[in-house]
Symmetry: C2
Subunit: 404 residues, 2 copies
């Protein structure tokens, strides 16, 4: 079995939206050991859709086509597929009535324009749509199965999961995918550390996904034991750089550790402008350990609300180790928490000097016993300097709690 | 002229990353009136790459191929293209030496593995890489031009802009793309309002891009006058729902208005957890008008740092119009600004009651003269409830300043 994808839509080709349906299907098919080998995107255009159907590689057994099943005149996928394979389209009065009922129940009148969604191919199976009005179809042709689905992501995903997945999922060979998430180390340095593992676990495929905030390592294979062995080796070598697994976010890990240690936290932010606080509060239940923040852009607020000494600001400047120490302590004491985390820096693009360039940041972490600080010079734009600073701040909290 | 795209890479097909190169190229080509009509993705696999080259539709004149030019053994695009079209690959000693020099200047030794990037096709033009080590190639074959570029986005974009764009940009027929960004109105309601415009401007193509925070309207056409006419009509009908154009963010618009009116602002945030503050500080120069924030998750902080009355919290609760009014006033007075904006609500998933369900939020905006409030019940998850609340808060500031 080999799988492929056709996505139909002008908005995809013109880059108005990213083709997240294709990447979602890519992940879903990879997870069952059938990674797509071919993905074609064409416009909502009869000739182009036909040409797409004509060029499906013959070694592909299962093709998922999404997009162009909506009610508007530019939704022509079903009609074009009918033409191409020589199927008739038949009006399904019963379905139209049930659609009208469904609209009525939610207090709306069904627009006449939806009528084209009541037409079905004569012959092929219908793929039901549990969450919308556009039904799909399953066509068996030339030893290939074509699954036609709408492009609305929530409908596409529901129909894939309910109908296609049970049909194509192999009995035994299910690929195991495992992601280890790292931060604080560059891709090349990580790759150098991990270079020899693969030879001991030849059935596992390893891939790096570098992001600005860290590098994800993805392991895929069919042998669960080898994957687990590989994972242990990565953990042994990459150690503290690994903060989580699968789609866990760093702020969730920090939240788990705070909860476990029964500790509370507050932030005092200058250059990150509230981003550390925003990220900490993305985690459900964060109100149990997160008390609040003071975002102090102006020096007055640093003095009045965080008790930073005027003399410190005058002598060392707002962007300095001395200031970030007082901010971290101020966060703890003013907001009454166990931990205070503070950031100050020059996010850019303006405000840099030869001594204190754009990208210079100080991060401070205060506990009852001590204050730790770190200094960085990031070389990015404002948004990325903020993001990286928030990442380092959260990671400092993680390491502090983990190794406490 | 018609354009197409081939993207090469396992990580794209398996959905490990979204294919943002393809959408970037889609937008770039659409902007010069050459929207791609065909986009194929294949793995880093000889046979699949060859089959991709063999199936390029004959009506396409210009194809951009990205990916697989890196230094590692799975980067096989150039070699496969050479095989397919019968070109020799030649080792370019001069380029290798210049690469080695470039590495040396930045204090590194060039790895031997990079040597494969010094091989060039004999015959085709070289496309220089101003920002990396992988050079591209331009192949003229069967009345089609193939541009081979690396997959690293920053390199791909630089090479497209420096070399390909000047070659393919039509002299006169440049498509005009214009985006109007709206917030506060649903796609269907907006579409209903705008339904009749298109008939007056038949050469303009209109598309809606609904996001959770608003709907973008994109106009494309070759006739500048028609586009401008269409735009004026949309502006007349959609009015205050339009907050900006092209890729302007709502926080940037708020910043412009604050700067113009010479006003300062502070936030007091409960349910948004610092997100309003974070968004306001994404804008370069925001330190001119943004002074700071108090993120008050706990009631103590609401009382101690924002002067919310204990009696208000006891009588009406933390999530109430009364509390948000006092928070907004507290932000203004405690942080010494012209405007205070405050949020309180139940972001979820926990904390809801029958009277105060998850998604209930209050937003308050205090100026010297008065306090305005709004109440919403959002039906999303925690992250989206936070995002929507921040969007409404920023939009309230925009409308307040715009209509002042």
């Amino acid at each position: 079995m080999k799988t492929g994808i056709i996505t139909v839509g002008n908005e995809l080709l013109t880059g108005f939206i990213d083709d997240t349906n294709a990447s979602w299907l890519g992940r879903a098919l990879t997870a069952i050991g059938l990674p797509p080998v071919w993905h074609l995107t064409v416009s909502d255009n009869r000739e182009e859709i036909k040409s797409a159907l004509a060029t499906i590689p013959t070694n592909i057994t299962d093709v998922i086509i999404t997009g162009g099943l909506g009610p508007t005149p530019d939704d022509i996928t079903m009609k074009t597929v009918a033409d191409f394979y020589g199927f008739d389209l038949e009006y399904d009065e019963k379905y139209w009535k049930s659609l009208a009922q469904r609209f009525k129940r939610s207090g709306r009148t069904i627009p006449e324009i939806n009528k084209n969604q009541a037409f079905v191919l004569v012959g092929p199976e219908i793929i039901p749509n549990p969450v919308g009005s556009a039904r799909g179809a399953l066509i068996n042709q030339n030893n290939q199965r074509l699954y036609i689905l709408p492009g609305v992501p929530i409908e596409m995903k529901a129909m894939y999961t309910a109908t296609i997945l049970p049909l194509i999922k192999p009995e035994n060979v299910v690929a195991k995918v495992s992601v280890l998430r790292t931060t604080g180390i560059m891709e090349s340095a990580l790759a150098e550390k991990l270079v020899n593992i693969n030879s001991n676990f030849p059935t596992v495929t390893m891939a790096y996904l570098p992001r600005i905030t860290g590098v994800d390592i993805r392991l895929i294979g069919n042998d669960q034991v080898e994957i687990e062995g590989f994972k242990l080796e990565v953990e042994r070598i990459a150690g503290d750089y690994i903060y989580g697994y699968e789609d866990t976010e760093l702020e969730d890990v920090v939240g788990e550790l705070l909860t476990k240690e029964k500790l509370t936290i507050a932030t005092a932010e200058s250059c990150t402008g509230g981003l550390v606080s925003h990220r900490l509060t993305q985690t459900p239940g964060s109100s149990d350990y997160f008390m609040g923040s003071i975002v102090a852009y102006s020096n007055n607020i640093k003095m009045n609300l965080l008790d930073v000494q005027e003399s410190t600001l005058l002598k060392y400047g707002a962007v300095s180790e001395e200031t970030v120490v007082e901010m971290a302590i101020g966060a703890r004491t003013r907001l009454g928490t166990d931990i205070g985390i503070a950031t100050t820096g020059i996010a850019g693009p303006g405000g840099g000097t030869p001594e204190k360039p754009v990208g210079l940041v100080y991060i401070g972490l205060a506990t009852e016993k001590r204050v730790k600080t770190r200094k960085f010079i990031f070389h990015f734009n404002r948004q990325l300097n903020k993001l990286l600073t928030s990442q380092v701040a959260l990671n400092m909290i993680r390491l502090e709690l983990k190794n406490a």
